[in-house]
Amino acid sequence: MLTHLFKLIWNKKKQNFLLIMEMLVSFLVMFAVFTLIVYYYQNYTRPRGFEFEKVWAVNYQSPQGMSDKDSIAAFNQSLKQLIKSMPQVENVSFAASNIPFSMSTHNTNVSHEKISEMAHIYAVDDEHKDVLNFNLRSGRWFSRADQGSRETAAVINADLAQKFFGNGQPIGKTIDFEGKKLKVTGVIDDIKDKGDYQGPDNNLFIRIDTSNQAWIGAILVKVKPTADAAFESRLFKSLSNVIRNSSIEIEHLADKRVTKNNLTLVPMIILLVVAGFLIINVALGLFGVLWYNISKRKGEIGLRRAVGASGGSVSKQLVTEALILSTLSLIIGLFFAVQFPLMNVFDLAADTYYIAIACAVAFIYLLVIICSLYPGRQAASIYPAVALHEE
């Protein structure tokens, strides 16, 4: 029977070529759509790597008019003490303005030996890890012990450590950043500080010491569960009293996260709507072509049944034929699709592509089975004489 089907397919090669092309294009479109969906889904399910609940952000500029580094440092130190002394406060961290879920970013190329990588740079203090509860994977977060060392202490995320050092030991190694050398003291788990749909990224945390206090642009305050709106206004008042020449603003990271997510959600929803239309389009297109092809074969179906094929065996034949054709087109499609992970196009993880390929293959097969089963069943359910008559 299979030989018979191959003969039939071969004899109709012109018509089948078009069908194969249609399925190929459908597959490639579905591959693109599923890559997108899988990518977003994988990002969404990636662990966040830090805690944002009960963390408040105070936007704050280092006081102007204070040109002396040491006096700025002293001022910041006393500010930190002031906040920390409040009973509702658990911990405080000073950081550059690119705190989690903020609109500001700071990225640049950093390198280790011959490898250069674009990374987000965060200037933060010793308490930052505890305020955001990063998961330390190896080594330690920088601390007062790193004060005055020749190379500024830095912590990187696991992804960047993998890229720079492979499976080797990153702790104690140096990284080049803007002409200076940084020493890696620790590696943390990957974080999603740009929102829930953020893809894998490189993060480099640099220790703030007396020499680079000017980088500070925000204060992160981890508050206790008892902290309420009344406390927030008290905090605001005390800060306003101390920081006289800068406007301050208190935000909750939880709110900033929602805003940030909504911002990335809009283009994503647009893309997914387009993807949805593409899926419908592909489904209808394939359905139409297969349906038309089978309805044109009413006479053949009638004849096969007249000479002894049961309705079931005719249905099976039509589905098998369509599956053979779709397998041919999927083989061609797979050849193109695997180039993406093999050549690392778009810098996505290989498994994103492979999952998308699997989804697209399953989708096309499912569609082909439905599209050939239904019209085939219909054609096979009428009496042979009627099918022959309708030819």
Binding site: N11, E300, R305, A306, V307, G308, S310, G312, S313, Y383
Partner: protein, 221 residues
Amino acid sequence: MIRLQNIEKVYRTETVETLALNSISLDVPKGEFLSIMGPSGCGKSTLLNIMGLLDAPSKGGIQIDAQATGNLSDKQLAQFRNQKIGFIFQSYHLINDLKVLDNVELPLLYRSSTAKERKQLATEVLEKVGLSNRVKHFPTQLSGGQKQRVAIARAIVGRPEIILADEPTGNLDSAMGNEIMEILINLNRQEGTTIVMVTHDEQMARKTHRLVRLFDGSQVQ
């Protein structure tokens, strides 16, 4: 071999109801060569389709080989058609995307047989109908008479006990028609095949054992 009891067939379309067959009762004993005649549209093809289990009657019953067919499942009907009946259609009904040889092999595809057996049997019957030199052709590359002979080869390749032929010589000149008739007569004589043939040709009908005339869906003699 074939027994029709009070067969009635009504075709319904949106506008009209056609009574294509009106209470036909007919017995075709084993080994008989029966011909059916009648004006165009009188229901000959309809009758043949019902005999061949290609269509269901609106009323009445059909027995083939002493077996009632009314309650057979689709699968059983298919097997019945495959094993017992060879059909020669008025308009050939060849599959244009298959070569002559593959068209002829078709009935064998639906029973247990090897590719080699199929090829051998098909080649044999094609020789019988004088088409040995056309086995690799497609139906579209054949004349009407040649197509008719392919259709005959397909009908006889499975050695059915019954052949139902709907104007097998209708599209052929008299020489070719006689040749086809020879084939059928030989089959009937040598293999004892029961044949029911629809024809417009009195001369052809005279060569058969018995003639049934239809008029407006009813049997007139």
